[in-house]
Every structure is written in C-alpha cells, then in structure tokens.
Amino acid sequence: MLVKRIDVNGDVLGDPAASVWSTANGETVPLMPTPAAMQPTKYISTKWQNEVYGQTKSVSVKALRNADEIAFRLEWQDPTKNEQRIENTDFPDAVAMQFPLSEDASLFMGGEGTPVNLWYWRADHPARARSDVAHGIGTSRVMDDVSISAQAVHANGRWSVVMRRALSVTKEAASAIQIVPGQTVRTTFAVWEGGNLERAGIKAFSPAWLELEIEA
C-alpha cells in the first residue's frame, strides 16, 4: 500500500474526519482471533479456549505522510463503545499496530533479539497512543519518551482512530520504528473488544504483514 505524501498541516492529518483522508490509499485488512494455545499462561488458555473472542473481522487502514509526520487512520466495526476503566471488569476498546525492528521479527510480537515496536491506542486515553517495544509474547514495555498523538471518534457503531508520529524519532531510537521516505515498512494490526473483556493476548490480529511504501 502506498503512503502518499500530502503537504498539509499535521493537525489536519490527525483528524479522522478530515476530507484529506478521501485522497489516501486504503486497504481492508482481515483479522482473526489469536489462538488460545499461544497464550503464555495455562490459566489464560484454559479460560479462553471455550470463549468467543477476537471477533472483529477486519480493520480498514489508510495512511498519509507530510514533510515530517506519518499518520494512520484505522477504522473498524464495534457497536459497543467501551472507554471507561473504573469497575474491575472494565476494559476499554483498543487497537494496535506492530512494526518489526529487525528483518526476521516474528508476527507474534517479535522474539528475543528480534524486537517489534507496538503503537497502542486505548479508548480510556483517546488523545495519545503508547509506543511499546516487545521481544516476544509477554514482554511488551512502554517507551515513555516516544510520543504518538491520537484522535478518535466512535460513530455509527464504528471506531475511527488516527495515530500520528514524527517520521523519525531520536529518543529511544532503537525501540521505535524509523519511517524513511522512499523505503518500505511492514506492519500488522490488533483490535481488542473491551466489552468482551479482551486485553493482552485476547484480541483479533492480522496474521500477515502489510507492506507500506512510503512516498519519497
């Protein structure tokens, strides 16, 4: 998928309702539930093997860049808006992107020596996404220094979320994907349905890399 360059202000890119998004290339990425057998603890696989989860069927992805930022617009169907986190059983809706930080990083959240960078947006903090680094299932770690801003709308039973970040980052540079114009990056996606108590490894994910070509 081509990530076009459009020289508009970052705040315009950041708005999921901005008309500029109609000019962007898009892709509908199919999702599937993460296998219960791949959950890192016996408790989690035993509990969830008989439950229905990860039912979000797809996520519609668009991306644009301007001179110094990249923005991803992710849209998926979710009739229930879960944004609170007060009751013990409250889990907010969430979405994430995964970028390999090494050539042979696994789709399943990377591995030892082959880390991935995760961009994680969650509905209880709608205006920012977190940048995590992971080197395998169970190892995700928040990188406080990398800032990803976000904007989200829930309307007509769908979430639309834009995550936006500088193309290159200097702090924690080794733990964050560097977006280089003219080159390609790969990514995958995950969606959590908070209303179904989905969190951590309980989610829908895209089991194939999506190649992004960053327009020079």
Partner: protein
C-alpha cells in the same frame, strides 16, 4: 515497591520453592472481630489514590458470603488434576466498594435535622453490599445460632495461581521468605491474577492501572518488625514465623501439634496461612436442653472450610484444654495462650517499629 527478582516464574518456567517460607497461624478461638488488623493495614498501605476500596486484610463473619461476596463460588486455583480452574474478576460491588457520604450537606449545609447520611458507591448508586455487609449474621436457627470470625489475607501460596496466570511474569515469590509480590512496574493491569486467585485477595487500582494485594508487610519484616495486622491485633491470635523454625510457634502449631489447617486446601494453591479451627459450645434443643454430643457450629461446616482433619484437631484442642483446666501442663495451650507478647507470638519479629 521492590524490584523484580530473578526468582519465581519465567514465562514458561518452573516454580521455584523458596529457601524459607514465612507463614501465619490465626487462632480463630481468640478473634474478637474488632477489625483492628484491617484498619492497621489500611492506615499503613492502602491510603493512596485508587486504593480507597482496598482491604488487603479482611475479617469475615462465618457462615457468611465473605469479601468479595460469594468468593468461594467463583472458582480459580487448581483442580484435582492440577489444571487451572477458570474464574471471574470480582467486581467493586462484590468487594463492597468504598462509599462516599453527603457529609457536607449533613454537617455543614444546615440540613442536619431534615436529612441524614446517605452512602453512594463509585457508580453514584445507593449500595446494596459492603465489605462487611453480613457481619455478625452467621448461621443456624435459634437457639443454635452461631458465628465466628475468619480473618483473611493473601496466603502467599506455594503454588500461587495469581503468579502463574500473569502473562507478563509480573508476580514473583521471594526466595528468602516466600512472600508473593506483584511488581507494579511490570504489571499492566490485565487482572488475570484477580481471576486466577481462588481466595480473591487481589484488588484493582483503577487510577494506577495495576493490581495490588497484601505484601506481608515485607518492609517491616525485613527490619524484624511483625506485619501490622499481627502486631496490632488485640486478640493476639496472629502468629508469624518461618515454617521451618522448629522452636517457633508456627512450626509447633502446623507440624508438631498439627492443629493449624489451611483454608480450602482443595483449591490447590498450598496457602501459607493456617487456621486453628473454632471450638464451640454444645447444641441446645428447643426446650433448652443441652446435647453435649453435638457442637453448636456444625462440624460439617468447619470441614467444608478446613478439610477432613477438623474433628481430630478439635479433639486435640478439647483434650489439651481439659488438661490445662485440671492444672496439668499443656505445651499446646501455653503456645496458643501467648503468655509473653511479642516473643511468644512472633519470636523473629519482636522489634518495636516506634524504636527504629
């Protein structure tokens, strides 16, 4: 809180048995139900933001629904085959939440004579449950009504379901004393531990987005000070010590006299808190006639909590009590009585915190 150690579970690693295990024994025959233990814990540890509904140490009236409500029916822990038993996350409402009161209106709003204190829970609703809602109700029919108090904390289990459920390995068991701790820097608030713990002794801090529980007062213990629930207990029934210390009261009660039993051993987590079961007066019939063959608290009920050895333990307690009543020596009764405080009840933790 303390840093993660390399002890305990790696993601698929085996559980390591600690070098030593700290344990507590609660003699239920001495508990007054005063809640001093719960309050001292609250004052010491759970006053920060997001902790207002937390009671790491609770005292439940038995028979009763407990804290959280009906926790014994929630599952968790391990089944007979050693497989995890699925469970659920107990809610704030089931724990009893933390209520807010209209104090401003009643005390300062000039309405003291026309209104009264009305609690509301976090959802702004009038609560229909609290942390001790069924206190002193108990069970049985008059004239055999009965109840006793059951203090509960995290059991710092040897096969801790919480630790083994966490996908991040954020929970660990310390090698030097077997205390089970949640590393709050590692925890991401996923709450699988709250589900997996069959004793439902873990709380969720929604402000910090982490789970929290009893820490066996490890910063006190490291300085030779007993956990605050134990030191403050006016009933002097909370024994503390290492299980392998043959001269200490814990070893005597658990291994030598074998009168201290784990709560719901069938949950499979191998708890390290033990209970001396409560003795009770004989049952009475409707005419007031005493039936010495039947205890007021049904033995079957005690067995449902403390397992098949209850009868045997009660018989030992009864026999030793008799000896003492006759003026004979009873090492067991002397141990349970705690003549010298604090050295008889937590010999390794006698340091007065005020003198540190």
């Amino acid at each position: 809180m303390s840093e993660k150690t390399d002890i305990g579970r790696e993601l698929d690693g085996a559980l390591q048995k600690p070098k030593r295990q700290l344990a507590m024994v609660f003699d239920l025959n001495k508990c007054l139900g005063c809640h001093t233990c719960s309050i001292s814990c609250k004052r010491q540890w759970t006053r920060d933001e997001g902790m207002d509904n937390m009671w790491w140490a609770v005292v439940n009236t038995q028979p009763g629904k407990g804290t959280p409500k009906n926790w014994e029916d929630m599952g968790g822990g391990w089944d007979e085959k050693g497989e995890p038993r699925p469970s659920k996350i107990p809610t704030r409402d089931e724990f009893g939440d933390a209520w807010k009161f209209n104090k401003e209106e009643v005390f300062h709003g000039g309405k003291g004579k026309v209104t009264y204190l009305k609690p509301v829970n976090t959802k702004g609703e009038s609560p229909d449950w609290g942390p001790n809602w069924d206190e002193d109700e108990g069970g049985g029919e008059y004239p055999n009504s009965h109840f006793f108090y059951l203090p509960r904390i995290c059991n710092h289990c040897t096969h801790p379901a919480c630790l083994e459920a966490c996908p991040r390995g954020a929970i660990y068991k310390r090698d030097q004393d077997g205390i089970v701790l949640i590393n709050d820097k590692q925890c991401k608030g996923f709450r699988f531990c709250m589900e997996a713990c069959p004793y439902k002794r873990i709380y969720y801090n929604h402000v910090q987005d982490v789970t929290q529980k009893c820490i066996f007062c490890f910063p006190r213990v490291e300085k030779g000070v007993a956990p605050s629930c134990a030191r403050q207990c006016p009933g002097r029934l909370r024994f503390v010590g290492y299980l392998d210390d043959e001269d200490g009261p814990i070893h005597k009660l658990v291994h030598q006299w074998k009168v201290a039993l784990p709560l719901h051993e069938e949950y499979g987590t191998q708890p390290n808190v033990y209970y001396v079961p409560p003795m009770s007066p004989p049952a009475v019939d409707s005419l007031g006639k005493v039936d010495p063959s039947k205890p007021r608290i049904p033995t079957a009920y005690l067995e449902s909590l403390f397992g098949p050895r209850v009868k045997e333990v009660l018989a030992v307690l009864e026999a030793e009590k008799e000896k003492k009543a006759k003026g004979e020596a009873s090492e067991l009764m002397d141990t349970l009585i705690v003549y010298k405080w604090p050295e008889d009840i937590f010999p390794d933790f006698v340091q007065d915190p005020a003198e540190l």
